[in-house]
């Protein structure tokens, strides 16, 4: 068997010309070069697959990542953009017996760290009895004094724990970092699994890999059980610092996975020492806050006051025992390398047992003896700040100049308690697909545990992270490393797990409509408005561009004059534009329309509005279905392509881009109509779209009819084109263009989804529906205004509107359109005042 496997690997494909790095443990191959037993099934399958097949699967995996929108934000990226998650298809395989040992060690470590937190935020016996130097607590900037004495949720401080593990050359696993604050990565671990199980389905099943999904279900129940007061149906929320956080994707993924609303600090409020979620239906009590925000930001009143990300009054609510926060506020104190120097003793002291898994050898320079050792062995060690601040990194004396090393030694001697030293870890290696070959890369495994009411349960899997370069020992997603799925094999033959993708929540609205946070409704409203602005921009430019080709089909499409007039009237043109020769005007207009299409910095251009869509839809990510999200991404991708250099090519490119955009926008509208439940959220998006469309159409009619020259036909034709109503007009009226008929179609026809009347009728329906749910909205200004506007249009006689007055103007039409415009602004203001007014920012003052 052994030989057959090896032979098949080496001969058949050449794929496995895989050379581990000497001096490190290799996860796959023994030092003699034979595959380890638990890797064989996977290796045989990969060998059969061959490099091309593997490449194909890899590409499929990349597409899944793209399609699922799995991203990771990189701090300091000038674009401020997230980048796709990096997943290597070859998983890390861990056999059952070894996993059992790891699991026990993780449970012990979590139990120990929790006991430390309970002591340090309670009696501080560890300090009084000198098991832990007092300086390690007092100097720790993450020690949150206001949280001392607070009884945490379920009597436990550490509900979710993660540890980074590395394997030394001897094969022993070491803990190299503890994550006790708001550990990230567990969502990425699950996403990695979903991708790898879908890309390598048969291999996955053959290998009998343990499932992750049952853990997530158990974790959800365990977290909900933390809620105080034991309400029948406790409400949990996931608190995120917002879309700019590096792991925001994961926040929204977990919120979706667990069915907890994803909220920002401003969505919550504290009343009578209770936490509430601000929803459109009013304040809804919150029992559990699962936080992904660093604890010091969680309450600007009692904790850090220099940021208003958090929830003022949260600490007092905790003191009153009315809400559970996981992890407990203050648990960040154990995220330093510092305590690793003391864990073996503390484990005996607190748990009465020996530490099962060693930590990487650590010396705290605050104690004299270790300090001497560190200064004498500087070159062999990694020096870290005891309490790292942002931007402070580990230092490697081995690669320093003599002078730099001396300077470091001085700094250590001046403030010894500020430094810890650790042994350089020789990370193990695993195969990674890199540039068509399989190369050895260093790995770190992040494992996760959740408190289940009596002990910790460990996720049977984890997030394996990979160093970016060949020999690099730095493993960091921030620095561009990648990741792997982690396959823990099941012990029993009978246990044949299979993975099922959980039903995707393909809705634009929240799970329970009444719980829609007001901020989300606000974002949805503006998403609707900006999406409509993009569409009207696209339609306008698409209708006008042919008029510039110089070969326009007169009478059928826009002429240079109509283009000039419409763009001028809609305030797209600087006043000096009408001057100049026809040719120079045409050229200038082509340039202008080009920037409307391609230049995202041009205010109210298409690209600019797309950026606004991005701004408002980003925090909605977990509420938009993946299809909707994909459509928005497609739009953004199309418009962010670099335009051709020459004006003429640009012209052609713009036309085809706009044609595509119309289709993509229709897909967006279709998803909203066909794939979205009619909840509160959907209504707000719709209200935004309808309001904006009515405004745009009112403006078009004002410029294209009221302000148009006496020879009005080309203008009417363009209006019909922009409104996609030319065919309807021709089949219905079979005549030349006449104002009253165009008005009947674009203003008054309640069956034409582009007409102003249609928008008001729809708005009225939405407002009526919102009113039913919110009694305070009855006889609201917005509802009354919508009804009045619709009545005005219904009562208007199109012939009268089309009649020119003594000055030859369409005065009646102008008045009506003016009224519509004012009414629409009143409606927008009234909605804002009713639903979004408490979104005013708060601020901290002190004296």
């Amino acid at each position: 068997m052994k030989d057959a496997t090896t032979a098949s690997l080496k001969s058949r494909t050449g794929l496995w010309r895989y050379v581990p790095e000497p001096g490190h443990w290799d996860e796959v191959l023994t030092p003699a070069g034979f595959p380890r037993r638990h890797w064989r099934a996977l290796l045989v399958a990969l060998g059969r697959m061959g490099p091309e097949q593997l490449s194909r699967r890899w590409r499929a995996g990349q597409q899944l990542i793209q399609a699922n929108g799995i991203t990771y934000n990189v701090y300091g990226d000038p674009q401020g953009k997230e980048r796709p998650w990096k997943l290597d298809l070859i998983p890390l395989v861990i056999d059952a017996a070894e996993w059992e040992r790891l699991e026990r060690a993780i449970i012990q470590r979590a139990t120990l760290l929790n006991a430390m937190l309970a002591d340090l935020y309670g009696p501080q016996n560890l300090i009084h009895q000198r098991h832990l130097p007092a300086a390690t607590l007092f100097a720790n900037p993450h020690f949150l004094r206001p949280c001392c004495g607070i009884v945490p949720a379920g009597g436990v401080h550490l509900h979710l724990y993660a540890a980074d593990l590395a394997r030394s050359p001897s094969g022993q696993w070491w803990a190299i970092a503890d994550r006790t604050q708001a550990p990230s990565g567990i969502g990425y671990a699950l996403e990695n699994r979903l991708v790898s199980a879908q890309t390598l389905p048969s291999v996955f099943n053959q290998c009998r890999v343990r499932q992750l999904q049952p853990f997530f279900e158990a974790a959800r129940a365990a977290l909900l059980a933390l809620a105080p007061n034991l309400r029948a149906n406790p409400r949990a929320v996931l608190l995120t610092p917002g879309p700019h956080n590096e792991t925001y994707f994961e926040h929204s993924f977990l919120a979706r996975q667990w069915g907890f609303p994803l909220v920002e600090g401003a969505d919550l409020t504290v009343r009578d020492n209770r936490v509430f979620l601000k929803t459109l239906a009013g304040l809804e009590p919150v029992d559990l806050v699962l936080r992904r925000m660093d604890d010091s930001f969680c309450d600007p009143l009692e904790l850090r006051g220099d940021s208003l990300l958090g929830v003022p009054g949260l600490v007092q609510a905790l003191r009153s025992g009315n809400v559970a926060v996981a992890n407990a506020l203050g648990s960040g104190i154990l995220e330093t390398a510092l305590q690793m120097a003391f864990l073996p003793g503390l484990c005996r002291q607190l748990l009465g047992e020996d530490l099962r898994m060693p930590s990487v050898a650590t010396w705290w320079c605050g104690d004299e003896e270790p300090r001497r050792y560190v200064l004498e062995h500087l070159e062999e060690l990694v020096i870290k700040p005891t309490f790292p601040r942002y931007g402070q990194n580990a230092e490697f004396p081995a690669t320093m100049s003599e002078a730099a090393r001396r300077e470091l030694a001085h700094r250590i001697e001046a403030r010894p308690e500020q430094f810890v030293a650790q042994e350089q870890v020789d990370l193990s290696t695993a195969p990674v697909r890199a540039d068509q070959v399989i190369a050895a890369r260093h790995i770190v495994l992040r494992v996760f545990a959740v408190w289940n009411g009596s002990s910790y349960m460990v996720l049977p899997g984890g997030l394996t992270r990979v160093s970016q370069e060949d020999r690099s020992l730095v493993v960091s997603m921030q620095l561009g490393g990648g990741s792997k799925d982690t396959w823990v094999l099941s012990a029993a033959e009978t246990d044949t797990p299979a993975v099922r993708r959980t039903a995707e929540t393909a809705v634009t609205t929240p799970r329970s409509s009444a719980e829609l946070p007001s901020r989300v409704a606000d974002n949805l409203f503006w998403l609707g408005r900006y999406a409509e602005r993009v569409e009207s921009g696209v339609r306008l430019v698409r209708a006008l561009l042919p008029g510039l080709s110089g070969e326009a089909d007169f009478g059928r499409s826009a002429t240079l004059e109509t283009v000039l007039h419409l763009l001028g009237g809609l305030n797209y043109l600087p006043p000096e534009f009408s001057a100049g020769s026809i040719a120079s005007q045409r050229w200038n207009l082509q340039r202008l329309l080009g920037t409307m299409v391609f230049d995202p910095t041009r205010t109210s251009g298409i690209g600019w509005n797309l950026n606004q869509i991005r701004r408002v839809s980003w925090p909605l990510k977990e509420r938009l279905s993946q299809d909707t999200w994909r459509v928005l991404q497609q739009l953004e991708m199309d418009f962010s392509s670099t335009p051709p250099a020459s004006t003429e090519q640009r012209f052609v490119a713009a036309m085809s881009l706009l044609d595509r955009a119309i289709v993509t926008l229709s897909a967006f509208a279709g998803l909203l109509m066909e794939n979205t439940t009619r909840g509160y959220g959907w209504r707000f998006l719709e209200v935004g779209r309808r309001l904006e469309r009515a405004l745009q159409m009112t403006e078009l009619l004002r410029v294209g009819a009221v302000q148009a020259p006496f020879e009005i036909e080309p203008y009417l034709e363009t209006l019909l084109q922009i409104a996609d109503s030319s065919i309807t007009y021709r089949t219905r009226y079979l005549t030349a263009l006449r104002i009253e008929f165009v008005l009947a179609l674009l203003l008054a026809d309640e069956s034409n989804p582009r007409s102003v009347a249609f928008q008001f009728a729809t708005l009225l329906d939405h407002a009526g529906n919102l009113q039913q749910r919110d009694p305070s909205a009855s006889d609201s200004i917005e509802h009354a205004t919508m009804a009045r506007m619709l009545a005005e249009i219904r009562n208007a006689d199109m012939d009268d509107l089309a009649t020119r007055d003594a000055e030859g103007d369409l005065g009646a039409l102008e008045d009506l359109l003016k009224q519509m415009r004012t009414g629409l602004f009143d409606i927008s203001d009234a909605l804002t005042a009713r639903y979004f007014s408490h979104l005013t920012p708060s601020r901290l003052t002190s004296f």
């Binding site: 009084h128 206001p146 001392c148 009578d272 009143l301 920012p841």
Partner: protein, 293 residues
């Protein structure tokens, strides 16, 4: 000396505030040398929720929550406090010994003091501050004597200038500007002592009204240092005095942030103005004088 104290903080908002949460440390501490005979806090508008508790450092904290529209937020704390004149004590323990004894923290008292050796957000150690202190902290010099001289030097070398700084100005910037208010002087002295690994804490309180001191008629701040076997000794670098029966202690902590007299988070409000008024008058005087100028 018995005092009637009154401390009013008025926030006036241009636009209505719809809700406000605030926290006040306005009840004077009972401690050796200071007895609080009476104290109360009045808040306008009337809060929906009032909580009282002790904070990590043992100070009384009152928190208030208001959930209706208001255009002003006024807290008035009044009290009757008896303060004894302190006996001038100047223990001879050298500063290096203090540093080492506190670091070794053999007693609960020195363990508690040890917490004040370390950096806090507003008062962190820095090389410049250590250099500044070193000319006073000569080898073997008694801690109390050296601290008194440091307080004197800050008073001499820095200018008291009410609008020259804000609480958000970094300490080293204040240090380089050489001017500030009582909070700044206290932070500079604390930062300098911590730069030598010495324990020092921030005290918030009042000065007797009418005294020829800076910082009367407003909330005041000074510094306490810890000497093993003796306890905490106070110094007022703003006025170059050793606080005695003219200083009323409200609260102490690592720095201003731990003991801010009144802070709050308001929703809305637009432009705001803040007025603070402090009166500390001897209780023996005819009552008509209280509150009047």
């Amino acid at each position: 000396m018995r005092y009637l104290t009154s401390h009013t903080t008025r926030y006036l908002y241009q636009e209505p505030v719809s809700q406000c949460l605030s926290e006040a440390r306005l009840i004077p501490r009972s401690m050796p040398g200071q007895r609080v005979l009476a104290s109360r806090i009045h808040v306008e508008p009337e809060p929906a929720v009032i909580d009282n508790r002790k904070d990590y450092f043992g100070n009384d904290v009152s928190s208030f929550a208001i959930f209706r529209n208001h255009d002003r937020f006024i807290t008035t704390a009044t009290g009757v406090v008896e303060v004894e004149a302190s006996l001038l004590s100047s223990p001879a323990l050298a500063w290096e010994r203090v540093r080492d004894l506190v670091a070794a923290h053999a007693s609960d008292e020195s363990l508690a003091a040890y917490e004040f050796v370390f950096d806090s957000p507003y008062a962190a150690a820095a090389r410049e501050l250590a250099d500044f202190a070193r000319s006073t902290f000569t080898p073997g010099r008694p801690y109390a004597e050296a601290a008194r001289e440091l307080s004197h030097r800050i008073h001499d070398e820095f200018t008291y200038l009410p609008t020259s700084s804000s609480i958000n100005m970094p300490l080293l910037e204040v240090f380089h500007n050489r001017c500030g208010v009582c909070q700044d002087f206290a932070h500079i002295m604390i930062g300098a002592l911590r730069s030598l690994c010495l324990p020092a804490r921030y005290v918030s309180g009042y000065l007797r009204s009418g005294a020829q001191y800076q910082g009367a008629e407003a909330s005041h701040a000074w510094v306490s240092v810890f000497v093993p076997e003796t306890g905490w000794l106070s110094f007022d670098p703003t006025n170059d005095v050793v606080p005695s029966d003219g200083h009323v202690t409200l609260a102490w902590g690592r720095d201003y942030g731990d003991v801010t007299p009144v802070k709050g988070i308001a929703l809305g409000g637009g432009h705001q103005t803040v007025e603070v008024e402090v009166r500390v008058v001897p209780a023996e005087r005819p009552s008509g004088c209280f509150g009047a100028q």
